[in-house]
């Protein structure tokens, strides 16, 4: 895992500015939540990290290395999408082994990694299944295992819980949150759901209109919002919400 720096990144598409001078630091092992309304530039920020968008200006650094102009396949970044985007022409195990295979990891080690990850995610029995036969929660876990199998610099999660039912969401939130901290993964977690971000992330960046309004721990952002936008956006309607740090 690595330390990730986004240095004054701006991305324009024609006349519209999707991301406007965003700077963010993600420490090794930190989970940064990026929240904001749709169209605020959070997904473009994620795609810039993955290498699918080249910033109009600014730099992206992994551990001090400038990767701004490197193609996605050489960046070693794990991606988890809302749609999971599992390869339906392969079994669950082949999905998980795909990344290491592309990176030239030997067959034995690939198998071992896949086995480990699948049991860590509690789905070892699904290894030989066809992804099309899995439930939403199971697909989510396979997607996560596949992204983690390449031992990425950073894990990028793009609205991974959207579309799951509320009960499953609550359970997965807890499980995935625990897993990510346990594995010491550096992660960028993009969501429009502030409760999800507050529960799963070490710190939160609130974005609006292409700019970062505030970065801080969930508690900081909640208790001392930097702007009226932030205070409005993070206002919780969850009465007995517990912050990750455990303090009352």
């Amino acid at each position: 895992m690595s330390r990730i720096t986004i240095d004054d990144v701006t991305k324009r598409f024609g006349d519209t500015t999707a991301v406007d001078g965003v700077s963010l630091d993600i420490d090794d092992g930190e989970i940064l939540g990026v929240v904001g309304p749709s169209g605020c530039g959070k997904t473009t920020t994620l795609r810039t990290l993955a290498g699918f968008e080249t910033p109009t200006s600014g730099r992206v650094l992994f551990d001090g290395d400038d990767v701004t102009h490197r193609p996605p396949e050489t960046r070693n970044v794990g991606l988890v999408f809302q749609s999971y985007a599992l390869f339906e022409n392969m079994t669950v195990r082949q999905n998980v082994e795909f990344g290491p295979k592309m990176q030239g990891v030997s067959g034995d080690e690939r198998r071992e990694r896949a086995t480990d990850l699948l049991s860590m995610l509690g789905i070892p029995e699904l290894a030989d299944r066809d992804p099309a036969t899995l439930s939403g929660g199971q697909r989510q876990r396979v997607g996560l295992a596949r992204a983690l199998a390449i031992e990425p610099h950073i894990l990028l999660l793009d609205e991974p819980m959207t579309g799951l039912d509320a009960k499953l969401k609550t359970r997965l939130r807890e499980e995935v949150g625990d897993l990510l901290s346990e594995l010491d993964v550096t992660a960028l977690y993009v969501t429009h759901d502030q409760v999800e971000a507050m529960e799963m992330c070490d710190s939160i960046a609130v974005m609006n209109d292409g700019q970062v309004e505030q970065v801080g721990t969930p508690r900081e952002v909640y208790e001392s919002p930097a702007s009226s936008f932030v205070s409005e956006f993070v206002s919780l309607d969850v009465p007995d919400f517990a912050f990750v740090d455990g303090a009352p």
């Binding site: 396949e73 970044v77 999408f81 082949q94 592309m102």
Partner: protein, 297 residues
């Protein structure tokens, strides 16, 4: 469907379903009856009265397949007998002698071109936004010209291609390309193409590798059904074949036409039945091949 509390069935349960079923069954019967009659009649010795008689006779099949002579001198058969006789001496020439293999080969050629050209076009249209996208889509999807017009234009532009295998293959592929593009495109549009592709790229696969190992296999269903439709339509294409064909074994559509115009009903029935069997066989083969060929598990 559950009964209402007051014990009455809903309107759709009482009338809707039986009605849909009845329409379905009637349509099926209407469509299937000619095929069944034709198939049955092809095994009759003759059909001069109300009902065909003299079952089971394979005389007409023998004639059509080319194992027995036609009554008059002209030979509209598939010439399989001749092919088998030539086979030991000159295997390459043998297959060219029969309309059967020539047609299968020509139509497959058309399918091959459509796979190479149509799949990337469908992918580009489904995946990217670019200038001229709408135009490319329209050109690829609209059957631009009927076979007869394309055939005549073809002969004017490339007279040297008249009657050659290459000319027929290119013509079939042009005429049937829309069916391939449509089938594959709908397959691409049904999946989260961009996210699928980006997942593979982020996992370290190059663009080309992603396309070949992830994108194409995920569109398997569309590609297989596109290939089947293209093949069946190309094998049955009459107009273009009629205009462009000049020598060698007749394309199947012309073989059918020759029998319809010149043979007895029973012989024609056998010829048409051969065609049904062939279509069913190739469809099955492409389906199996498609499922096997893409299976990576």
């Amino acid at each position: 469907m559950s009964a209402r509390p007051d014990g009455q069935q809903s309107l759709s349960a009482a009338f809707g379903r039986p009605l849909v079923l009845a329409v379905f069954v009637l349509t099926l019967l209407f469509l299937v009856a000619p095929i069944v009659v034709t198939f049955v009649a092809s095994f009759a010795r003759d059909w001069t009265g109300v009902l065909p008689s003299g079952f089971v006779s394979v005389r007409h099949w023998e004639r059509v397949l080319g194992f027995a002579a036609y009554q008059d001198a002209a030979d509209y058969s598939l010439r399989l007998g001749e092919m088998l006789a030539t086979l030991p001496r000159d295997p390459f020439a043998a297959f060219g002698k029969t309309p059967l293999f020539r047609s299968v080969f020509l139509a497959l050629g058309g399918v091959a071109i459509n796979l190479v050209v149509g799949v990337p076009i469908a992918y580009a249209v489904a995946r990217y936004d670019f200038r001229g996208r709408e135009w490319l889509n329209a050109i690829a999807v609209l059957p631009l010209a009927p076979g007869i017009i394309l055939g005549i234009a073809f002969l004017r532009a490339y007279p040297e291609l008249s009657g050659t295998d290459f000319g027929l293959i290119v013509g079939y592929s042009l005429l049937k390309a829309p069916f391939m593009v449509l089938a594959v495109q709908s397959s691409f549009e049904a999946m989260e193409l961009r996210q699928l592709e980006e997942s593979a790229r982020s996992l370290g696969a190059s663009w080309l590798r992603t396309f070949l190992v992830v994108v194409v296999p995920n569109a398997k269903r569309g590609i297989v059904s596109g290939a089947i439709i293209c093949w069946a339509l190309a094998a049955a294409e009459f107009n273009f074949s009629y205009v462009v064909y000049s020598r060698g074994a007749r394309p199947l559509a012309l073989f059918l036409k020759a029998n319809i115009s010149n043979s007895s009903f029973e012989t024609t029935a056998a010829a048409v039945s051969v065609f049904f069997v062939l279509i069913a066989g190739v469809t099955l083969a492409l389906q199996l091949l498609g499922n096997r060929g893409f299976a990576t598990r």
